[in-house]
């Protein structure tokens, strides 16, 4: 399951630049998303940013989740930082995720980690895409849905949060 914070023009890099509000519906949405996950796959950049930020913080729901959840990090160099249960995926991201999917258990989450999300979407191993779309055009920054092959999606849900952010969930596949 890929969960991303996106601008209306599709940018997912540095969402703090266009996410100017965070309301209770967005919080409840995030809690539901991560509540179903028992593993996450992260790119190295997201890992490094988060391992420098989250340990020692206790703001629910994300801080306790990311601290305790099983983390698989795509990287070619050893991990640094203070997180337990962090594992390295060297090469073969897609195969590694396929293996994770075969285990029993909850959802596998991809948060931020643009390169990872794109590679998994391109390989057809993503089942759900959950977006929070800000009412803003970022203008610059990396887009999630660039460089992908054509994909059919099926809308599952689309609601508006009180501060005007679109919570939209898709199943990947027609």
């Amino acid at each position: 399951m890929v969960y991303e914070l996106m601008s209306l023009d599709g940018v997912v890099e540095r969402p703090d630049a266009f996410f100017t509000d965070w309301d209770e519906a967005m919080d409840a949405n995030l809690a539901a998303v991560i509540g179903a996950q028992d593993a996450v796959v992260l790119g190295r950049r997201s890992y490094d940013e988060w391992v420098a930020y989250w340990p020692g913080r206790d703001s629910p729901p994300f801080a306790p989740f990311i601290t305790s959840v099983e983390k698989h990090v795509v990287t070619s160099t050893p991990l640094e930082g203070a997180w337990a249960d962090a594992h390295v995926i060297g090469d073969g991201l897609v195969d590694a995720v396929r293996e994770l999917k075969e285990r029993p258990g909850g959802d596998i989450g991809v948060h931020a980690s643009i390169t990872v999300a794109r590679e998994l979407l391109s390989a057809g191993v993503v089942d759900e895409l959950r977006l929070v779309i800000a009412p803003a055009i970022a203008g610059t920054g990396r887009r999630l849905l660039d460089g992908l092959p054509p994909l059919r999606l099926t809308p599952i849900r689309s609601t508006l949060s009180p501060t005007g952010y679109l919570l939209v969930d898709y199943r990947v596949g027609g």
């Binding site: 803003a136 055009i137 887009r143 999606l153 809308p155 939209v168």
Partner: protein
Amino acid sequence: MPVVVTMSITLDGVGAGRHVTLEQPFGDLPADTFYGWIEEAPEENQDAFDAIVDAGAFVMGRNMFGPITGEWTGDWRGWWGPNPPYHAPVFVLTHHPRDPLTMEGGTVFHFVTDGIEAALERARDAAGDRPVHIAGGPTTANAYLAAGLVDELLLNVNPVVVGHGLRLFDGVGALRLEQLSVRATPLVTHARYRVLREG
């Protein structure tokens, strides 16, 4: 009255393909990528289609009007048959003058050669107290957005990623928006935004 960009786009923001031809109004992407929802589920989406054409006047780019480039030759009258769905004046941006084209049902195509601001001014005058819709395509919508001339966006977002084509918002820069409404149907999400002026 508001100036509204109305576009049907894909989830990756594409509003048309490239290389429009007589056979392919949306270029190298099929029309149902963008408007399949009105063909396949007309009842649940009729309101949204009506909203697209509910304006006092329209502005559209030349590529949206037709596949002909350069001087006007022949008698091209648009993609929409003898009675287009606009039922109001439509101002077509072009570098090549042509006499107005009166269609059935109240649609009149006017050909404007002196730029996007002049076209919008004429559309505002024609619309009176009703909205002006910037009907597309993406290049025209982006020109108006970049110029700060748009008050609202009325988007129909199709659940598909196409990976290529002309993208809405390219070259527009940063804009703050306010989401006014959203309605999801199985084939498309209808969303309306107000454009806030600061970046």
